[in-house]
């Protein structure tokens, strides 16, 4: 066996190990989310969660049961979220209504309705709005600082 071939063999072996590990983690994930598993620590994924790319930026959203605990990252930078109850006055002239909305350092005057009843896509809407505001730029560490309303 030449040196080159040995290196290739090592590389493929390493890749094989990674693949196996991924499959195992996946299987555990499936087992944990099943009703019969009885495990408490692996919460089922919320169907509203997302991890995708929008306009070249990675947007990752995770929902949690407790109010004010939802999480959002843009290109792996955290954006601290605050949930407020507010009057929404649509610019299209439709009727004002009260609902829960997310605000953050970036959309401080522009709450995005969480919309848990109809489309359930408030967090993703917020993610896209923030990407549109950032343009070519990124969030800074200041955006991750919590605040209370």
């Amino acid at each position: 066996m030449t040196d080159m071939k040995r290196r290739d063999l090592l590389r493929y072996s390493a890749a094989g190990v990674v693949t196996t590990a991924t499959v195992l983690v996946g299987a555990q994930g499936l087992a944990a989310s099943g009703p019969a598993s009885g495990r408490q620590n692996a919460a089922p994924e919320d169907p509203r969660d997302f991890d995708e790319v929008y306009k070249g930026k990675k947007i990752k959203g995770k929902h949690n049961a407790a109010r004010d605990k939802d999480e959002l990252r843009i290109n792996n930078k955290k954006l601290a979220l605050t949930v407020i109850s507010t009057l929404f006055i649509p610019e299209d002239g439709s009727a004002p209504h009260v609902g829960l909305g997310y605000i953050s350092a970036i959309n401080h005057y522009d709450p995005v309705e969480i919309d848990n009843d109809k489309h359930k896509d408030g967090l993703k809407k917020l993610a896209k709005k923030v990407v549109d505001i950032l343009g070519d730029l990124e969030l800074s560490d200041e955006a991750a600082k919590d605040h209370k309303h």
């Binding site: 507010t86 401080h108 522009d110 343009g135």
Partner: protein
Amino acid sequence: MAVVRKSIAVMTSAEKTAFIDALRQFKTTSANGRNYNWYIDQHITFFSRTSDNISHAHQSPSFFPWHREYLRLLELDLQTVSGNPEIFIPYWDWTGTTSPFTADFLGSITNGSVSSGNFSPSWGWAIYRSSIATSFLQRRLGQNASRPTATTVNTVQGYTVYDRSPWNSTVSSSYRNRNEIELHNRVHNYVGGHMGTREAPNDPAFWLHHCNIDRLWWLWQSNRGIDTYQPRTGTTSGVIDNTETMRPFAAGRTPFAVRDISALEYSYA
């Protein structure tokens, strides 16, 4: 000394230059124990509820008087730092056609950034505590919202009750909340970039916008009564009552104390 706050549409070029030069000077020179970045710090701090669970600056009745005191202090500091007692904060009536975002005033915008000229870093304007990773002031005119029209302003000015329970951003028929959401928030979002953020006073347009909001409140007071703040007395939970000090301002700076602008040494032209 008493000043007359003018519209940006009628400012002379000398008045514009004096105003922006005083702002720039205040970035690096303290006056009366404060500097420009103190104002950004206070805006961030008092946007949150304080430890006694009071909302001082936004989403609460004290939205108008808190910003009135905030602007009055800045006007005083700009006069002090520049040694020019005639400096005034101008107002930007965003229903009109005159824009403050020009090369000779608040700076022109290239692809969303103020990257050269007035209010650029090379001119002497350092962005502070930005939640957007950039050293350039950001503006995204019209991307996220349109400007309120004169019709919308008239509708909002027509609300007869200053504010009412539950004293927050859910109140549907109070002058304070309709103005805060439909006029005030919307213009922050119309300008966009830093004006839409928690650290909005990084953009000098903040003062021109809030000056117009204060002018509208004063016009409303002139119609409905100068002493019309609600809640009047007592200790309503989570909000500033008429005779309660607004933080971070000095003891005695209450909504009642700032109700009459003629006692605050300014007027609107």
